[in-house]
Amino acid sequence: MSRMHPFARAGLLALAALCGFVLVGAASPGTWLLDTLTGLFAAGLLVMSLHLLIGYTGLISFGHAAYYASGGYIFGMVLQTPAFVAACGAWSVPLATLLAVCGTGLFALLVGSICARLSEIYFAFLTLAFQMLFVSIIQGLVQYTGGDQGLTGGIPRPAFLGLDLVQARDRYAFSAFLFVAGVLAVRLITLSSFGASLRMVRDNERRAAFLGVNTYAVKVLAFTAAGSIASLGGVVLAVFTSAAYPEWAGWSVSGEAIFMIMLGGLHSFWGPLVGVVAMRVINDVTLLYTTHTELAKGLAILFVVLVLKRGILDWLTDWRKARRKSPSTKEQRHAAP
């Protein structure tokens, strides 16, 4: 296995994961596990795509949820157009997904090219401003987007490739596929030489520029890729709820995505996914005893920041390394973003 090209290894892993998910789905008796996992898939796509920006490029975006929502909206609006469904028939859903990704990619490209000139806090605020502008537009264009009520009336999902998305299992399988595809895309990017450029830009932008890397282009490309992958999350949500809501582009969604990344760990690839699950566990476990989920979340985050001082997976990794007592672990940690 270790002789294989990293891309091939990633691809095989993805395939194995997909098979695993589908088997779990087929074996699961009720629909609770499927619904929960579908929700986690959507959040996972949002978070992993944002991780590409925060963890690998060092770009802190406060407005990432805009691309998440845009994916759901484009998917829903396209499928709600009778002419489209009539024209594409059985291929409607895959084509709509493709359109959602491409449309969002264009949107992200546009915003990214404007924002990437700035750095740190200004970049963050500009992405936030664009996100709020996006929400204003959605809420304003009531005839097309349903305004603050969201896309109502349900989204038609014609069956394709033997999958009927109204059925819980098929919906889950489709979501699992999109999830695996999205995470694989992020993985391939980080493994590639482009990924290396991202890390160079993150660690020391000036030095990267001196080496001839077009840091602006790198940042814009990363932003576009991240936005496109986030849109897959929106598609999963749209399929799940048969609607699209402006809340998906709210800044609390963006904020929660950042917290999930921080909670899980910024310095490893899988950290954010750990964060997604951890956040959900905190939420659900607290709900069993009290309504004060906010308090529990707040205390958990404070604990992670002040006591652990890093994300859960990062802490676990460091702890394991310390136990193994290997000499030069200090060098092995990524430089702080």
């Binding site: 695993g20 709820t241 069993l288 309504t291």
Partner: protein, 419 residues
């Protein structure tokens, strides 16, 4: 390679252990043990965020009804158990929670206490899943009026925007006949605000064709500062102002507007003023504001209503519109269950609910009915009155005759193409 931190805890195990906690979100003193298997009723509602008071008061209302029937022995010995969950006011969260309530918590009945967008999300789920459901909070008329939304196992136990609009238009037309012709509106800029205001103006114009809409201003929901909207209205110099702002927004608007002396200059129709929390929160309530009744202990002026009001306040919360609607929804569920002897077959429950009339402290003549034609509530106390500066804050209540409401509602449905 997927890291899972579930650590082997099965949620089912948790929930069966926690099943007795039921409505664990509140310090519920009387956790009754099930004698036969408890009948579970899922209640998705908003318990956090700015509108948390909606869920809190709706839960009190629902629990009042359920506790009463459980204390009297339940349904043939089986207790009813409310499973109340927080949707945080997010529609997709509402959809997810409703699905969980049905598939994982074993709720065969859903008492939906979600509002506007969330109610539609719940609606899609219970339609898909074919679960008996009573919407108790949503006031959006199209939820039951639009044939595209109907399903014979879904009902609404709350008031409807269209009824309020007709009653309001009728009441306001009296003002118009007394010379108040120039109207302006100031309502929140979202679906509820826009639809309600449009419907009110539509009916006002039908009843008093010579009124003129001189201008509108649309603050955002939860906007903290209404100064520009207030000065806009002052510039328009209307003879009357209509607003369907509600809750904390209405309180803030009133405080800010009174600084400008708005209420000395023209009449105001504030539909949602007649809500106990609003009335008690506005210090120095100006007198003479026309208000609809959301919930008021004197409307209807009956002993049953006074008793209900006192009972509700024992929970420590003020009775709201949401409270009586959820109470009514729970009552319909209970009556249906009594009729089926505890059976939760959807079609039998639907059959037992359709067209049913129940005793109600909130009904015009002591009863309310679930109208057969479109599964929605009629004959609840509805009308307008005027504010006064001390308790009970609302006086001069003029109930609107239901036959007039029904007549105009039918015409409206025809206009919209619903029938």
């Amino acid at each position: 390679m997927t890291v899972s931190h579930r650590a082997g805890l099965s949620r089912r195990a948790f929930l069966s252990a926690a099943g007795a906690l039921g409505a664990a979100t509140f310090a519920c003193p009387s956790i009754l043990r099930a004698q036969g298997a408890a009948i579970k009723v899922g209640v998705p509602t908003i318990l956090s965020g700015r509108v948390a008071i909606l869920g809190e008061t709706a839960s009190v209302g629902a629990k009042m009804a359920v506790d009463a029937v459980n204390a009297a022995g339940g349904i043939d010995g089986r207790m009813i158990e409310l499973v109340i969950r927080d949707t945080k006011g997010k529609p997709d969260e509402a959809a997810r929670i409703t699905r969980e309530l049905i598939s994982n918590d074993g709720c065969q009945v859903i008492l939906d206490a979600e509002a506007s967008g969330g109610a539609f999300a719940v609606h899609e789920v219970v339609r898909d899943a074919g679960t008996y459901c009573v919407h108790s909070i949503s006031e959006t008329s199209s939820l039951t009026a639009d044939p595209a939304n109907t399903a014979h196992w879904i009902f609404r136990s709350g008031r409807q925007g269209i009824h309020d609009a007709i009653a309001g238009g009728l009441y306001a037309s009296e003002l118009a006949k007394a010379g108040v012709k120039r109207w302006a509106t100031c309502s929140p800029d979202y679906a509820y605000g826009r639809d309600t205001t449009a419907e009110f103006m539509e009916f006002l114009t039908i009843f008093a064709p010579d009124v003129k809409l001189v201008g509108e201003t649309w603050p955002k929901v939860f906007q903290p500062d209404y100064t520009e909207n207030i000065t806009n209205v002052l510039n328009l110099a209307p003879e009357a102002l209509y607003t369907c702002l509600w809750g904390g927004d209405l309180v803030a608007f009133f405080d800010q507007a009174s600084l400008y002396g708005l209420f000395d200059q023209f009449q105001t129709v504030a539909v949602n003023m007649g809500d106990a929390p609003v009335l008690e929160a506005i210090k120095n309530l100006p007198a003479g504001i026309h208000s609809g009744n959301r919930y008021h202990k004197d409307i209807p002026d009956s002993e049953a209503n006074e008793t209900w009001n006192a009972e509700f306040r024992k929970s420590g919360k003020l009775p709201t519109n949401w409270g009586w609607q959820a109470y009514t929804g729970a009552r319909f569920v209970i009556e249906a269950l009594k009729a089926t002897g505890g059976g939760t077959d959807r079609d039998k429950l639907a059959e037992a609910t359709k067209g049913r009339t129940i005793d109600s402290p909130h009904g015009v003549n002591g009863t309310v009915t679930m109208r057969e034609s479109d599964n929605t509530l009629v004959d609840y106390a509805l009308g307008y009155g005027k504010t006064i500066s001390e308790a009970p804050y609302l006086t001069d209540f003029q109930p609107t005759a239901w036959d007039v409401i029904l007549e105009h509602e039918t015409e409206w449905k025809k206009r919209k193409g619903f029938i």
